[in-house]
């Protein structure tokens, strides 16, 4: 097969106030017709820039410094904007990360697709265009296309919008489809559907695709080949089987090991130490050397070349040089299909070093004191004067002292609303919340205990960029709650206290006088943790605290949470949509769906024996970083839109399930 896309020694740079940012450095790869190549790496590694530079969609401050891009043998490196317009949509097109913002809000969805149909074929009649749009909408699985044609994007859900974007991208039958994190902004269940759709459509039309993602687990399902990028370079490229079962680059090992799915049963998640380098002045040798525990002397001196392992598998690490010491890869699995490859062990070898760092108490949580008792909590939002949404509908559960309670569910399931009711941010419409027996939702009781309640409960938010005041120094941010409550800082001055707390969460004290925008996402999240912990809280709520962070940083923050919780013993409500994280961190987990709590059980019990069909769907959607298993896995689709009212039944000790009132249910099996 001829190469459809051929990228040779491509380097792309940005001009920035700090200097030239070398976003893509000397990248070469090729793509065959009908093939899916996944590009994986942390944010800022240049994967997105690489795709956009091929389509020439980069802002004016970016330029291709060297290298060439050719499509089906034609060099397009020096094409002008006018020539590129003819190629875009027809030869290649693109799907973007956030479907909420990538459609024009004021144009009907059908018209936006029609526009893409017309742009490369102006001779089509109105009727033909309409037919084609309907056909495309059917292709991407939008039901009732004729009615939906007339609707605006705000009428569509996230998944539907991403389908519409896909219809736009496919309108002129492009040869190559770039998908830039197409599922990152979507819920787990939708994510799997969109990936399946991508794969299905791609096979049906014979389109080649480049799938960009930060998550190795996600791409295992759809990719034929995988390229791993780090600091602007491709460090390893090979078929999916080769990269997943026989990874050779230490960074690939690190990425694989940071996936929480692989840390099952261990006491802390694996993390890659350190931070990715800045690309303004990239290090001389291997950019990964300083984070690499297997780094050799030469790694700091000279850039490793691409070593060929098989016909399709290449990796850039000095470990593959014949003079290098032989190292047993900490990840990877004995290859499938009878093929044997050498240096492989199972995951177990990696666990040893981290084992039993913090022995987990095995005492029964249910016998502890109840800290928070939520009874029949209901919260309604008034859309208009009459239209009401029940964000939380009759939810009851208890949180025991000193436990980590996980709350999972897709976006809009009401999990954040529950947390906000517990924190007195929202006043629930009905039901009550007892905190140490105090009915905090009653105004009188709340006012009487206001100071105590506000001091003992702290909250950490998802978006650290907007939840920290951009114009306050880190030290002031940490000390502010103490000042509000007129507390004497236990370590003398507020500044000393701030310094202590920052060190405690792993931030350098030189950050004391920095402002939040100067910190990275992970550092900012540590800062919000330090702020919350400075008050020595009894109850801590974290609302999706790691959702906006990179995989390796996520693992660092999660480890920090676990460590701090064990040391402080605070009660912890952890809200997430990432089930693997929840399984690793939490003692008990509640699953929410459309405002109702459908299942509640100890974490191990829930993950090994889910009873509610929604929980099963949710669990089946967790991606596994194993291409063979992942491709074979069938998705379960949860059909029901609404969970009706029911009673919350204790099926097994500590394991509750929402069961409809009368017979004829399909939800139970126990």
């Amino acid at each position: 097969m001829e190469n459809l896309l051929e990228v040779k020694h491509l380097s792309v740079s940005f001009d920035s106030p700090a200097g030239e940012v070398q976003a893509v450095r000397n990248v070469s790869f090729s793509l065959k017709r009908g093939e899916v190549l996944a590009i994986v790496g942390e944010s800022g590694c240049g994967k997105s820039v690489l795709c956009k530079s091929i389509m020439k969609l980069l802002p004016a401050s970016a330029r291709i410094k060297s290298g060439s891009i050719s499509i089906a043998g034609t060099d397009i490196t020096n094409y002008r904007e006018r020539d590129m317009q003819k190629l875009r949509g027809k030869v290649f097109s693109m799907i973007f990360q956030d479907p909420m913002t990538s459609l024009n809000p004021t144009i009907k969805v059908g018209q936006q697709i029609a526009e893409a149909v017309l742009v490369h074929d102006k001779k089509k009649t109105r009727e033909q265009v309409y037919q084609r749009v309907i056909e495309l909408m059917e292709l991407v699985g939008i039901e009732h296309p004729k009615e939906r044609y007339q609707l605006y994007p705000y009428n569509f859900s996230g998944g539907m919008r991403q389908r519409s974007v896909m219809a736009i991208a496919l309108a002129s039958n492009p040869d190559i489809l770039f998908a830039d994190e197409p599922t990152t902004a979507l819920d787990v269940t939708i994510q799997a559907q969109i990936l399946d759709l991508l794969r299905e459509v791609q096979q049906k039309l014979g389109t080649a695709a480049i799938l960009v993602s930060h998550d190795l687990g996600v791409v295992a399902r759809a990719a034929d080949r995988v390229a791993v990028m780090y600091a602007g370079k491709i460090v390893e490229i090979g078929t999916a089987e080769e990269v997943y079962y026989d990874p050779r680059h230490p960074y690939t090992w690190g990425l694989m090991r940071s996936l929480p799915a692989l840390s099952k049963g261990k006491n802390s998640l694996y993390t890659i130490p350190g931070m990715p380098p800045t690309l303004v002045d990239p290090p001389k040798g291997d950019a990964y050397a300083c984070r690499n525990e297997y780094a050799l002397g030469i790694d700091y001196e000279e850039m490793p070349p691409m070593f060929q392992i098989t016909d399709t598998h290449y990796a850039a690490t000095w470990l593959l040089d014949e003079r290098a010491p032989k190292i047993i890869a900490p990840v990877g699995r004995k290859s499938l299909g009878g093929r044997k490859t050498g240096s492989l062990t199972t995951e177990k070898a990696s666990g040893n070093e981290e084992q039993n760092a913090f022995p987990r108490q095995k005492e029964n949580i249910l016998s502890r004191e109840v800290l928070i008792d939520v009874r029949n909590l209901t919260h309604q939002f008034h859309l208009t004067k009459k239209a009401v949404i029940r964000a939380v509908d009759g939810v009851s559960f208890q949180i025991y002292k000193g436990e980590i309670f996980g709350l999972v569910g897709e976006s809009g399931s009401g999990k954040s609303t529950v947390a906000r009711c517990l924190m007195n941010i929202y006043q629930p419409s009905a039901g009550e919340v007892l905190y140490r027996g105090i009915p905090i939702c009653e105004k009188k009781a709340f006012r009487a205990n206001r100071n105590m309640l506000q001091m003992r409960r702290q909250m950490i938010f998802q978006d650290s960029a907007s939840s920290l005041n951009q114009r306050m120094k880190a030290a002031d941010i940490i000390a502010e709650p103490m000042k509000i409550h007129h507390m004497t800082p236990p370590r003398g001055s507020c500044r000393a206290e701030a310094k202590f707390q920052m060190k405690y969460v792993g931030l350098d004290e030189s950050f004391l006088d920095r402002y939040p925008p100067e910190l990275s996402g992970g550092q900012r999240q540590r800062l919000s943790i330090a702020r919350a912990l400075a008050m020595e809280p009894e109850f801590l709520v974290a609302d999706e605290p790691v959702a906006s962070l990179d995989v390796s940083i996520q693992a660092q923050v999660i480890n920090l949470f676990k460590h701090l919780q064990q040391e402080h013993g605070f009660t912890f409500l952890f809200i997430a949509h990432d089930l693997a994280m929840v399984e690793y961190l939490c003692d008990r987990v509640g699953v929410m769906y459309h405002g109702r709590l459908v299942e509640l059980a100890p974490a191990e019990e829930l993950f090994s024996n889910p009873l509610h069909s929604y929980t099963k769907t949710l669990l089946s959607a967790i991606p596994v970083p194993d291409p063979v298993r992942e491709r074979a896995r069938k998705l379960q689709v949860y059909e029901e839109d609404e969970v009706g009212a029911g009673e919350f039944v204790e099926v097994l000790p500590g394991h509750f399930v929402l069961r409809p009132y009368k017979g004829g249910s399909t939800d139970e099996k126990a």
Binding site: T101, S102, N104, P105, I107
Partner: protein
């Protein structure tokens, strides 16, 4: 059902409109009378000082100022509904007649000025956005900053000096030359300089807004998708971006209408242009209540009307606004 909702929706709008006008008239009526000063001065001039208390009483009664405010207000309302807005104390004529002569002048100046600003700033803003950061855009932006800093009376004087005094191509004052009231060419020549001032003073502000909003839109994600579709720059800018900028622009423009019309005051003074600007000032200063009421009501109705108009237009451009509004109306009727 949907049609009924629409009708109800506009009905609701109309009710709000009438209510706003009512409140406005009451407030203006009351506040005007609260201001310190003697309303009789505007009618009787210097004679007022020499009046005996008895004469004063008689004069007050004659002008209808002796009654309590609310009674005066009700009377004024009743008369207003019959088209009688009272007489001007100063000009001793029907106020409608006083205004009639001048409103045409102001509407010519303000109306044409507004149109120039509306169209001009849109074109200029789009033009600058199109040429973002190229030399032409930079020069125009710098020029805009400079011209916004120049006070209008100074600029007026400079223009008069150049075009009327030195070059002698344009007249320096008035709305028409004596005896040529019906000569359109002459009127136009008188209009050019004031119009230029009004336009220059406002144009840049709105052009900037269009430019910056457009550039904000150009960086939105949907533009990237539109580019990836293969659309050209013109289509993206005019079809995709402009429609998202227009709602904000129209809202601003609606507020600008009375601003531009009222802002002609300085220009009218410098050019001795007989318009409403100077008249409003005088009416407030000399407690010419009836005149003041009519002028305030006119500009007030204009503001409210323009705001409503822009809202209705916006709803047609941006379906999200309409959806929430109509939903609300239908919910109310369902209740």
């Amino acid at each position: 059902m949907r049609k009924r909702n629409r009708a109800l929706y506009y009905g609701k709008k109309l009710l709000i409109f009438l209510f706003s006008v009512l409140v406005l008239s009451a407030v203006v009526f009351y506040v005007a009378r609260l201001a310190p000063g003697d309303p009789l001065v505007s009618y009787y001039g210097d004679r007022t000082e020499k009046m005996s208390p008895k004469e004063r009483e008689w004069a007050m009664e004659k002008l209808g100022l002796d009654e309590p405010i609310h009674v005066q207000y009700v009377k004024w309302m009743q008369n207003a509904f019959h088209g009688d807005f009272g007489i001007s104390f100063k000009y001793k004529r029907d106020v409608v007649e006083v205004i009639r002569g001048r409103i045409v002048n102001t509407l010519l100046l303000g109306g044409i000025g507004f149109l120039c600003i509306f169209v001009g700033s849109l074109l200029l803003g789009v033009f600058c956005a199109w040429h973002e950061d190229r030399w032409i855009d930079r020069i125009l932006c710098k020029l805009g900053t400079v011209s916004s800093c120049i006070p209008e009376f100074w600029l007026s004087l400079v223009l008069i000096l150049i075009f009327a005094v030195t070059l002698r191509v344009l007249p320096s004052s008035g709305a028409y030359s004596t005896g040529r009231a019906n000569d359109i060419g002459d009127r136009v020549r008188h209009l050019i300089l004031p119009l230029a001032i009004v336009t220059i003073e406002h144009l840049w502000y709105y052009a900037y807004m269009i430019r910056n909003k457009l550039l904000e839109e150009v960086r939105a994600d949907y533009v990237l998708l539109a580019k990836a579709k293969g659309l050209n720059k013109r289509r993206i800018l005019f079809w995709h971006c402009l429609r998202n900028v227009l709602p904000a622009y129209l809202s601003i423009m609606a507020i600008a209408v009375p601003h531009v019309l009222g802002g002609t005051f300085v220009v009218e003074t410098v050019f001795s242009y007989p318009g409403i600007g100077a008249l409003s000032y005088e009416s407030a200063r000399y407690h010419d209540y009836n005149l003041l009421m009519l002028l305030c009501m006119m500009s007030g109705i204009l503001v409210i009307f323009c705001n409503m108009l822009s809202q209705i237009i916006n709803e047609h451009i941006d379906p999200r606004i309409k959806a929430s509004e109509v939903a609300e109306t239908s919910e109310v009727t369902a209740a």
